[in-house]
Every structure is written in C-alpha cells, then in structure tokens.
C-alpha cells in the first residue's frame, strides 16, 4: 500500500517561523510538508523527490523566488509542471506580472491567514489527504 498518500507541499522561505506557520496550516489540512531555506535547496529537494505543490517566498538568499521558479520551469517533467504559489510582501501589478512571467500560478500578499493558505493550496493541487 502507498506509504503516504498525502499530497506533498514544499515550503520555501528563509525564515524558520514563516515555514513553521505554513507547516502548521498545511499539516492540519492533511498535507505532508517539507521545507527549504532558499531556492537552491528547494531545487535540490525537488530533484530528489518531486512535490505536488511549492509555496515560495520571493526574497531569499542564494536564489530568490523568481529565479527559483524560472529554473524550476526549465527542468524536466514532473518538476517543470509543479504548481507554484508565490507569497510576497509586494502588492503592485508589476510584481504580480513578474511572478506570472517567472512561472507562478497564484500569488498571495503577506500576511496570509493560515486558513487562506490552506484554501489556496487545496484549490491548486487538491485536498490534503
């Protein structure tokens, strides 16, 4: 039997408390959650084990969110098709456009309520369990 039938979400943000906040939100909604501190680490983790969705912050060291997304979209399947939810402090139309151009599927502006995050994730990749 499948060891873990839960959907897997990779949360990418350089702040540990942000990752914890999203983790709590998503684990209570039934998702399996993995974390990465920056875009490079996220890419490595996905290369080892693809996720069903990636939640990514824009501002991170070593590889920022947009660079990560562009790199992700250049990978072989299934990585290139992983739905991506970008979370940013910026709310301007140009920021949204930049996210879209980088390959984001959805965009949320901080602060994000845990319930809202779980709703968007369910919308994007299906229910947790």
């Amino acid at each position: 039997m499948a060891e873990d039938a839960r959907k897997r979400v990779l949360v990418v943000d350089d702040a540990g408390l942000v990752r914890l906040y999203y983790r709590e939100a998503l684990e209570s909604a039934g998702y399996e959650v993995d974390e990465a501190l920056n875009g490079l680490e996220a890419l490595e983790k996905l290369l080892l084990a693809p996720a069903d969705l990636v939640v990514v912050d824009v501002n991170m060291p070593q590889m920022d969110g947009f660079t990560f997304l562009k790199t992700l979209r250049r990978q072989a399947p299934p990585l290139c098709a992983i739905p991506a939810l970008v979370i940013s402090t910026e709310a301007g139309p140009q920021d949204l456009a930049a996210a879209q151009a980088a390959g984001a599927n959805f965009y949320l502006v901080k602060p994000v309520r845990q319930a809202v995050l779980a709703e968007y994730v369910a919308l994007m990749c299906g229910a947790g369990a």
């Binding site: 501190l37 490079l40 290369l47 080892l48 070593q62 590889m63």
Partner: protein, 283 residues
C-alpha cells in the same frame, strides 16, 4: 512526536536549520534517524540532560561542539569505495557527458581534494578500471591533493589496514593490493603510479590555479568545516579549476545551496552533482 533524544519534530528541524546555516550541511529525510542518533550520542557525551540545553551548547559552539558534531558524521570514515554511488554516477553519467565536450587526445582529469590518505583517488582509479568500459581508450589523470603533507606521504606509500578495505570485494583486494602484513595491504605499484599527489590549500584564493582544469572534482566533507568566508573562497577555487561543463561532487550531507550560487545543480540516477556552466548543454 518525540524523537530519539527526547526532542520534538520542531526542535529537530531547528537544529538542522542551524547546522545548515552554519555549515551548509543538509540532511535529507532518509538521514533523519541517523542524525537523531548523533544528537543522542552528543547529548550523552556532553552530559546534556535536555535537548534544549544541548542545542544551546551547540549554538554557542561550547568547546567546539559544532566541529565535534560534524565529526560524528565524517570521522574515521575514510575507506575505499566510500559513497560509491558517486563513482557510479561518474562512470555512468558524468564521463560520457564530458567526453562529448573534449577535444580528441585531451586527457580526462579528475581531482580528489582533499584526498587525505589516498583512499578516494585510488578508489576512483579502481572503480574506473572495473566499471568504465572505455578506461583503456582514454588518458585519465587522477590527482589527489591535501593541505596535510603527512597524509600525502601516506597516500603515496599506499598502505592500508583492514578497516579501510572493508567495502572492497575480496577479488578487488586480491587484484589491486599486496598483503604486507597480517593487517596491512599496499596498493600495487602500477596503480600507485596512476595517481599523483600534491599539496594544496583550498581556502586560499587562487592557490589552486597551478593544478589546471578538471573534468570532475571530488571535494567531499571538507567545506562543512570551513567558516563562511573560507567556504566561498574554496567554492570559487573549485569553480575556477573546473572545465566549462565540468562536475563537482560534494559529500553526502553537503549542499552548495548554502555555500555559493556559482554552480548549477544536476540530478542523475545515482547522485546529485554540481556543474559549472558552459561547455555543451547538458540534459
């Protein structure tokens, strides 16, 4: 959920985070139990009665605890065919791709740095002889380098004890070693002549230049010991010493992601490796 050393999942993640920020060590899920056991070992060794107090000690690097913790993963682990999945990746994936980029007659150059007492470069040589069908068709230069000249002398001498050979099948020991005592074996002369040993300090800018450019570099389990500035210098040295399109292999708990954005990450069947951009486009 309480783990091996009495820590919660969250506490465990925080410790991993801290180590990652400080050393670049990255633990995959499959390593989890192993890491937790090491935490338990270190708690016992330091007399820490709670995870919180051990973590506090680690964070403040009391008595060099960070290095002691790292050593728990890497100490006494130099032996032949260590992490041989990377050698498999070398013969199955990396060399084929490098051959596409090379000029006819140009040798394949492989660097093991640091090489310590030589197990790694000799392992590479043995592996290629045993597993790479084209080993006779190309010139292969294997260089082992280290900052410690005493270990280089030992590497040139090529004498090893039983423990270093424990992962080698008996027929390989038979083929490539001469037993020189009840507990010692020496690499056969022809193999010793296949590897050149040189001194080098990876953390000095530009110091590695004279070694030329390599197709593949193995730099395993040393970057984690460097401070952040030295790590960047070492990463830049390694970058400089790679041919465009050349590959870098780090140790099993290491990731370039905390160290430097210079390289591109590549996943092959047997390993994750780092590539210097340029050369022909890679798959």
């Amino acid at each position: 959920m309480v783990n091996e050393a009495g820590e919660t999942d969250e506490e465990f993640r925080r410790l991993c985070d801290f180590l990652y920020r400080r050393t670049g060590m990255l633990f995959s899920d499959s390593k989890r139990y192993f890491v937790q056991r090491r935490i338990a070992d270190r708690m016992a060794a330091t007399g820490s009665s709670s995870f919180a107090s051990y973590f506090s000690r680690l964070r403040s690097d009391v008595d060099g605890e960070i290095e002691r913790f790292i050593n728990a993963f890497t100490v006494n682990e130099t032996y032949f065919y260590r992490e041989d999945h990377q050698f498999r990746c070398l013969s199955n994936d990396l060399l084929t791709r490098r051959l596409n980029s090379k000029l006819p007659g140009a040798p394949i150059r492989i660097w093991s740095a640091p090489c310590a007492t030589g197990e790694e470069p000799y392992s590479i040589a043995i592996w290629l002889l045993e597993n790479w069908p084209q080993v006779d068709a190309y010139d292969v230069e294997i260089i082992g380098s280290d900052i410690d000249t005493a270990v280089l002398e030992a590497a040139r001498a090529g004498q090893y004890g039983r423990r270093a050979l424990m992962r080698l099948p008996a027929e390989l020991v038979e083929k490539y070693f001469v037993q020189t005592g009840p507990e010692s074996w020496r690499i056969i002369d022809e193999l010793r002549e296949s590897v050149r040993f040189t001194p080098v300090n990876l953390s000095v800018p530009g110091e590695t230049k004279g070694h030329g450019v390599f197709d593949v570099i193995f730099c395993r389990n040393v970057l984690i010991y460097f401070d952040p500035a030295s790590r960047r210098v070492a990463a830049e040295n390694l970058f400089e010493n790679l041919a465009p399109g050349g590959y870098l292999c780090l140790g099993h708990t290491e990731s370039m992601s905390r160290i430097s954005p210079l390289f591109e990450v590549r996943r092959y069947a047997d390993a994750i490796v780092y590539q210097k951009p340029g050369g022909r486009a890679d798959g």
